[in-house]
Symmetry: C2
Subunit: 283 residues, 2 copies
């Protein structure tokens, strides 16, 4: 099934627009993991328990490649097992890898992330242009998805993404225009495309313009929680039906408690976030 259709179905089934971000850092794990001899194994155990705790509150999880590679030799296998675990619990999975390279290398990345890791969707960085994105779009015409970086949640996203490329357009909006062209590779039956966009929760004003420019795109919205955005400001990221976006939080859920109750605390944090977003949207 088309990825965007799967995402709509997951949001409706769970009544949740939450994406839990898995950004596990060994040093930040709950106390009981302190001193674990196998860090990769400890991170997998932690990821598994977080997935089990939040599976009822979220439509999908997003695992960040950087935190898994930082585990060393066993990190990539840990990421593969984590994705498999989340899928086994019926969750959609996003690998946040911000992939970008020329054609033949982009094919190797697509094989790694969609093939080997079996992720449902990944994030990609569009700076190299259309031919670098094509190997990923090929998977969108099957059952996978991509979220293309458009306006990232960090303060310095202004450095290049906000540059004016014409009196009425920023680089982010240029990227949005290309995404609208690329959308045809992943059109689903629910009106959305599997070719989505990353738009940071920290920029609600920019989101208004980007929402108007990209009507068929699912927005992946990072920056909720630890990065400072709140539920009220999120309305502009969604469409009139309260669909078209998933909001991601990582640290505020993963490390809601550092004690024995970390899983319960993560569950509560994700549920609270789910309720806050639904309430702000009036759905």
């Amino acid at each position: 099934m088309n990825f965007a259709d799967q995402l709509v179905k997951a949001i409706e089934k769970k009544d949740s627009r939450v994406c839990v971000g898995l950004d596990p850092v060994f040093e930040k794990l709950p106390l009981e993991y302190a001193g674990a001899s196998d860090r990769a194994e400890a991170v997998f155990s932690f990821s598994k328990r977080i997935i089990d705790a939040v599976k009822g509150d979220c439509a999908c999880v997003k695992a960040n490649l950087g935190f898994y590679l930082a585990l060393g030799d066993g990190g990539f296998a840990t990421l593969r097992k984590t994705i498999a675990c989340a899928k086994g619990e019926g969750l959609l999975t996003i690998v946040d890898c911000k992939a970008n390279d020329i054609g033949n290398t982009a094919e190797a990345y697509a094989k790694s992330f969609f093939g080997f890791l079996n992720a449902d969707a990944i994030t990609i960085n569009p700076l190299l242009g259309s031919d670098s994105v094509m190997p990923f779009l090929d998977y969108c015409s099957r059952d996978r998805g991509v979220f293309v970086l458009v306006k990232t949640s960090n303060a310095s996203s202004k450095d290049f993404q906000d540059l004016k490329t014409s009196p009425r357009k920023t680089l982010s909006e240029e990227i949005a225009s290309k995404i609208v062209e690329w959308a045809e590779y992943g059109l689903g039956s629910e009106g959305y495309s599997s070719v989505g966009a990353v738009v940071g929760a920290t920029f609600p004003e920019e989101a208004k313009k980007l929402r108007r420019a990209m009507k068929k795109q699912f927005f992946l919205v990072p920056g909720y929680g630890a990065q400072g955005a709140d539920a009220k400001s999120l309305k502009s990221f969604f469409d009139d039906e309260g669909l078209g976006a998933i909001v991601s939080a990582s640290r505020s859920v993963l490390y809601a408690s550092g004690g024995k109750d970390f899983a319960e605390a993560a569950d509560k944090a994700a549920e609270k976030m789910k309720d806050e977003i639904n309430s702000a949207l009036g759905v």
Copy 2:
């Protein structure tokens, strides 16, 4: 020692401006590896023999993360072993990972690539702006380097990188201006900074302008060989002393022969490239 200083020293010692790109694809390996049961092990053996063959012809090697991750669970360890092998042979090493993410994740990537893999330098994608680049620049003030994507070698690099952000400036040139600011993090004693730039061999006209804009930057120049650029067009990437750039080729060296003589053929291809570039520069 500062990375840019190490690079100048390596170029002078080897009398070579060549960087051999390690982009190993199992299916393309020489005949003798066909049917190998452990693909990661086969790729490591191949990478090791290529490094041994070309070590006299090149100043550095560049290993592309994508091709190693495509090997699955053992890919990242294979990349670590490959970097260690090249360093053991006295070569400088670049991991081509086009890393990009917000601050705390960029720190995780920096730890993976500079810490765990122990690469001398990496490539980074600047789309997320200054704060996303800082964790990597911190390593440039020690003994490591970065090459920031400015103008990539692929045809679609025009999509965003060539957009005009003012009547006289493109996005690539905006990135170049930031790199000049970032250069202070890695100034060496030879006049170059460890904060370099990726400028594709396929765009010599753009390179002229970028060379003028970035006088202290080492250019990492991909696109030689399989991607079509030749030695004569490379002059504009170097400075007046015939320094300031390293030219990378991957497929034209790695797969110069698919037979038993693959290592010898790679050696010859790298030596020919070295001589062509030196001859075009008159050094």
